[in-house]
Amino acid sequence: MTEQPHTQQQTGPSSEHDAHSRLGHGVKHRLTSLPWLTRAAGIVLSGVSLGFVVLFVFVLETEGDLTLLTRPLSMQVTLSLPFLVAALTLVTTAGSLLAWRYRYWSLATRIHQTILALLGLAFSWQLWTLGFLTP
């Protein structure tokens, strides 16, 4: 443990290259890791879903209800989010099925991920019912 600060203070070209290499490897590893992607999709799904609700209300409040008809850029961006929600729901749902098949993570995490997938499916269903997933 006492050597670690020393190691972190190395600033030579070789250590920078190693750090970049480790970072690149870590990113690549994550982007090709189905468990990591599934977890990320679930988190992003939650964020985008809430973001859509907040942004929709915000645009209506700040720019007026007329934006539903005239569709300025802000409303166009807002109304594109439901399609992202639907796509993330599909990824999260597929990932949840794989998680049970290949026993990713702990049981609690798998249950949490499955709940997120179910929430996504239910939310997408209502987005469809309310017309947000149709042109």
Partner: protein, 566 residues
């Protein structure tokens, strides 16, 4: 045309409820949405001095003016910043008067003969009058496939069903087009497109066989206007200008957008609420122009009503012959004999047997209502330069209630037929209006407008809306219910114990259809609430866990150093 300068401010404190706006936006002519369905807002006779005979109220112009002044005094500055009113008796305008301000920024008074209002879907009556001119001249026929008039036009109606769409379907909103509500409203005048292009770009699907059910359609009115233009080889605006506005001396009227700068008169500014006051808002433009881009003064609308009440004549001119006017004012679609039905372009108003016909109108921040009583030769037009929750129809309701234009409603007599409770349970459920969008973000309006029907005590029926409006109904015949007060009627069509459709007398622009259980308001509200809460908790939990893990890592990292230090 001069227009008082207007503010470009957007107001987030508009007190008009979002539900009211959503329900009303784009619903040119459906301005009744967002208010309690079918609830007449007319005050009691006692409040206005009791019901008067038609002759009494409409022959004494001073008394009429005093009455209308009284009605408007309660509203100007509170319901709307400005209003314009025209009341005619046959060939004679007996009251044309402006109230309040045309623009709160410059405090310009409304003048009936000078201040131009956007009248929204009341303009459809001009469009359908133009159709009837074509019928009279033999260039159009109400029962011919509209495609036969479209020739080499880029617009054509798809042959989805065996029966073709005809002009009679367009004039009674029974063509079966999917509702879009939005008549292609644009905020930028540069985005105003040709009627033909709009009809191609915005073409809805045909979702019902023609003639089956009423489903209000802006597209249908736009198509009718396009057919008129093609039949006369001109543009819709030019045709109406030369064949209707000029003969009627409607010098301040136009369908053109933006209103040309050399047009006589001053265009009132649309207004939105700002706390207790009103602010001018930006105007909008309606691409499906034949459906609702008309701008006119009350004086001009008086001329239009005079022609309709005088067998088509106005001064030395004639826009329709008497027979054609009679045809236009006769029934063209009967949705149910006990409720308001459709004349050509007009729908019936109030008591279906009173022969009162009318049409409402609205743009985003203008509203209007036009009523004709052909049996009494009375016409009433009211327009606001705002879109409040209480619409101009309420003023018309008060004037009608104070006259003998229709009978005073009596307490309904319950049916003697046994089984009221069972029938009430049969019709219980949630209902959706046929003219509301079934796709796109405006589909949310459909959910907000659901009508809930449930059994009440004594075999009565209770209806509620999300807005909280509750009404009680008494069954007077099996599956027919009358409102305890007013002329409203609910008529259910039931087959094998299942409701097919529900007709509401005060809702002539559509029919109610049962909503499947999974599309009910409680389901949507519950699912949305649960999912949003679930996502929120999940994110909060994830964030909390991340913070805890970082904190733990930090503590773990710190521990050896502390030991070394020690």
């Amino acid at each position: 045309m001069r227009r008082p300068q207007s503010s470009t401010r957007n107001d987030s404190t508009d007190r008009t409820t979002r539900r009211s706006f959503l329900a009303g936006l784009g619903s040119l002519g459906l301005a009744g949405l967002g208010t309690s369905p079918g609830q007449a807002s007319a005050r009691s006779d006692a409040q206005r001095g009791g019901s008067q005979s038609v002759g009494g109220l409409f022959t004494d112009s001073e008394e009429l003016e005093a009455f209308v002044d009284d009605v408007m005094a309660d509203r100007i500055g509170t319901t709307t910043p400005g209003a314009t009113i025209a009341i005619v008796s046959g060939e004679t305008p007996i009251l044309t008067k402006g109230y309040g301000t045309a623009n709160t920024d410059v405090d310009a008074p409304v003048r009936a003969n000078e201040t131009v209002f956007r009248v929204g879907s009341v303009g459809k009556l001009v469009t359908y009058t133009a159709v009837m001119q074509g019928v009279e001249q033999g260039v159009l026929d109400l029962d011919t496939d509209v495609n036969s008039y479209l020739g080499d036009s880029t617009v054509s109606v798809p042959e989805t069903y065996d029966d073709p769409v005809t002009l009679r379907h367009l004039g009674t909103h029974t063509a079966g087009f999917e509702s879009l509500l939005d008549p292609d409203i644009v905020a930028d005048p540069a985005a105003v497109d040709s009627l033909e292009s709009v009809l191609v770009d915005q073409q809805p699907e045909r979702i019902r066989p023609p003639g089956e059910l009423v489903g209000y359609s802006n597209y249908g009115a736009g198509l009718a206007g396009h057919i008129v233009a093609r039949a006369h080889d001109t543009t819709f605006e030019d045709y109406v200008q030369s064949e209707i506005f000029e003969p009627l001396e409607m010098t301040h009227s136009t369908f053109a957008q933006p209103v040309p700068s050399d047009q006589p008169g001053t265009l009132a500014a649309p207004h939105i609420r700002d706390g207790e006051s009103f602010l001018p808002a930006d105007d909008v433009y309606i691409n499906m122009r034949a459906a609702g881009s008309l701008s006119a003064t009350a004086t001009d609308m008086a001329a239009f009503m005079q022609a309709h009440l005088s067998d088509g004549a106005f001064g030395d001119g004639q826009i329709l012959d008497a027979e054609t006017v009679g045809t236009m004012h006769s029934r063209h679609h009967v949705r149910h004999p006990a409720v308001t039905n459709w004349r050509y372009g007009f729908h019936e108003y109030g008591d279906p047997n009173a022969n009162l016909v009318g049409h409402s109108g609205a743009t985003v921040n203008f509203t209007s209502y036009l009523l004709l009583a052909p049996d009494h030769d009375i016409g009433i037009f009211v327009a606001y330069n705002s879109k409040p929750s209480e619409l101009p129809k309420a003023v018309v309701d008060e004037i009608v209630a104070a006259s003998d234009l229709q009978t005073v409603p009596t307490e309904p007599t319950p049916t003697a037929e046994p089984g009221s409770r069972e029938r009430a349970e049969t019709v219980a459920g949630e209902y959706s209006l046929s003219y509301l969008p079934q796709r796109g973000p405006l589909q949310a309006i459909d959910l907000l407008e659901h009508l809930t029907v449930e059994p009440a005590t004594d075999g009565r029926l209770r209806t509620t809306t999300l807005e909280g409006t509750a009404r009680q109904w008494i069954e007077t015949e099996p599956y027919m219910y009358e409102a305890i007060r007013g002329h409203d009627v609910l008529a259910f069509e039931v087959t094998d114990g299942e409701v097919d459709v529900l007709h509401m007398n005060s809702e002539p622009t559509g029919v109610y259809q049962p909503v499947p259980s999974h599309e009910r308001q409680a389901v949507t509200g519950g699912v949305l609430g649960t999912t949003v809460a679930g996502f929120g908790l999940s994110l909060a939990g994830w964030a909390g866990q991340s913070v805890w893990q970082r904190s733990k890592r930090h503590r773990d990292d710190d521990t050896p150093d502390m030991e070394v230090a020690e």
